[in-house]
């Protein structure tokens, strides 16, 4: 019973939350979930909504699978995982359609595509099937935060330099435009998202030397 006495936010549990932010980031270190990072980071608003949706889906699905982990037959576990994720995504989708119709239109199929986001199922397979409920929940939320952090950084840069706005509000003052400044059209195209992620990885490895592979 002494094990159950472990504090809710012990050092290990905190690492589950914070590790994916830097050392084990799903996008910049594990290179998962790139497609959605390219597609929905033109503006900040959809990126933030996407982050919240993924946090909800990953936290809940990790929790549910962790509860069911002893009674899921190994052979059909992928199907069970898919059903759980798909149901949660359907809830998010309906919720957005009801309360944030514009954003849900902008995100179009990408909310639905959370089902196929490798990060979600990857965490279920790698973590939730073998760990307790609380830890699985933290792991899901942590990875979703790591994913969302990159999304928000990329969206911030792309919206600021691509359309001169943040959350749809113009932030670059008019006199700078009058001096001849022009928004960077390349920022609105998806190749630039890839380049921004690449530069982020470059900077991250500059500060975090242990991520550099030995050849």
């Amino acid at each position: 019973m002494s094990k159950d006495k472990e504090k809710l936010f012990s050092k290990q549990n905190r690492a589950l939350l914070t590790d994916p932010l830097d050392d084990n980031n799903p996008i910049t270190v594990q290179v998962l979930g790139i497609c959605s990072a390219l597609a929905i980071t033109v503006k900040l608003e959809p990126a933030v909504v996407m982050t919240l949706s993924v946090i909800f889906v990953m936290g809940s699905s990790n929790m549910i699978i962790s509860i069911l982990r002893d009674i899921i037959p190994t052979r059909i576990r992928i199907i069970v995982q898919l059903v759980v994720i798909a149901s949660l995504v359907a809830i998010v989708d309906q919720f957005l359609k009801a309360y944030a119709y514009d954003v849900s239109k902008q995100l179009s199929i990408f909310i639905g595509l959370i089902i196929t986001n490798c990060i979600v199922m990857g965490r279920l397979e790698a973590f939730a099937l073998g760990n307790g409920v609380w830890k699985s929940f933290l792991d899901g939320v942590g990875n979703a935060l790591g994913y969302g952090w990159i999304l928000i950084v990329v969206a911030f840069i792309r919206e600021l330099f691509g359309s001169g706005e943040l959350f749809g509000v113009p932030v670059i003052p008019q006199f700078i435009y009058d001096l001849g400044y022009t928004d960077n059209g390349l920022m609105l195209l998806s190749p630039m998202a890839l380049i921004v992620v690449g530069v982020y990885i470059w900077i991250q490895r500059y500060f975090n030397r242990k991520l550099i592979e030995k050849d």
Partner: protein
Amino acid sequence: MSFIRKNLDKIKKPFEKGGKLEKFYPAFDAFETFLFVPNHTTKSGAHIRDAVDLKRTMVTVIIALIPALIYGIYNTGYQYFIQSGLDFTFLDAFLHGSYKILPMIAVSYAVGLAIEFGFAVYRGHQVNEGYLVTGLLIPMIMPVDMPLWMLAISVIFAVLIGKEAFGGTGMNILNPALTARAFAFFAYPTYMSGDKVWVSEASNIDGISGETILGALAGGQNIDYSSVQMFWGSIPGSIAETSTLFVLIGAVMLLYTGVASWRIMLGSLIGASFVGFLFNLWGANELMSFEWYNHLIVGGFAFGIVFMATDPVSAAQTQRGKWIYGLLIGALCILIRVFNPAYPEGVMLAILLMNVFAPTIDHYVIQSNINKRRKRWEKIKIQTV
């Protein structure tokens, strides 16, 4: 000469090992080897050293670029005065062009070399010579009226993302000058294409049409320039790519000194002529019936294949690979021109695409060579056994 040498030796002290400014040795070294061929000697083994090192090669390319550059400066002024209907002398045209172009060259070199020096000092290696050529190429392929800060950002992008991210000169996959142009093309399309950018001041003065020939063709208009004008270069276009004649002079210099590969140039020429000829036979629209020989002398085709496609770093390395690489650049360039009116000038995209494929081409050329030799060897083995 000995005066420069003496002074260099005098200020060399603090830069050497243990000196105060040891950190900045790469910067000093860059200047010294720029002026003098380094006199390092090999310590062991037998080596053949050529006096023509990378810096001397790059200077050859720069000399080859100068005819086109000088004509480009004149043509910038010429187009401006002709289109606005003013009287002008040769000198007027030249001065107007210099006033427009020299600041672009200065900005390109200042920004690019600053980044190169920064990385060299930080990484502790020699300054990469490659930028000497890139820095001149970039302003030569941009529109005249491009704001200088845009040029600076394109240069930063090309040097940082196109080159330093891959490890500096000799490691880049893409041609840095074209990377800068592609960046500007997609980032600031209103400044990089259309009918208001290719002649000096066209956006400020009504009645000046800054349309290039290819742009006019893609828009379905008729063109009133003759082939002779296209070859000589008295047409609107970016700074130094208008005159095929002066590009050819540069090409002769490069081929004579052996700096550029004739296989790539000839390959591109054949590829473009062949595809252009096929489209002439088809002739479904204005662009398709544009004569194949005009395709070769209009736009940046000549400039691209002479100075960009032959870049020894990003081109294919094997001899057969160079043929394939050249042929495909020529063919793709005409294909893009004809089928995609949104990109009237296809040569930039064609070269960048083939840059990406160059290592793949080399791989298969080498592999086929290995297979051929293996088969031959197996035959010999069977006969002797």
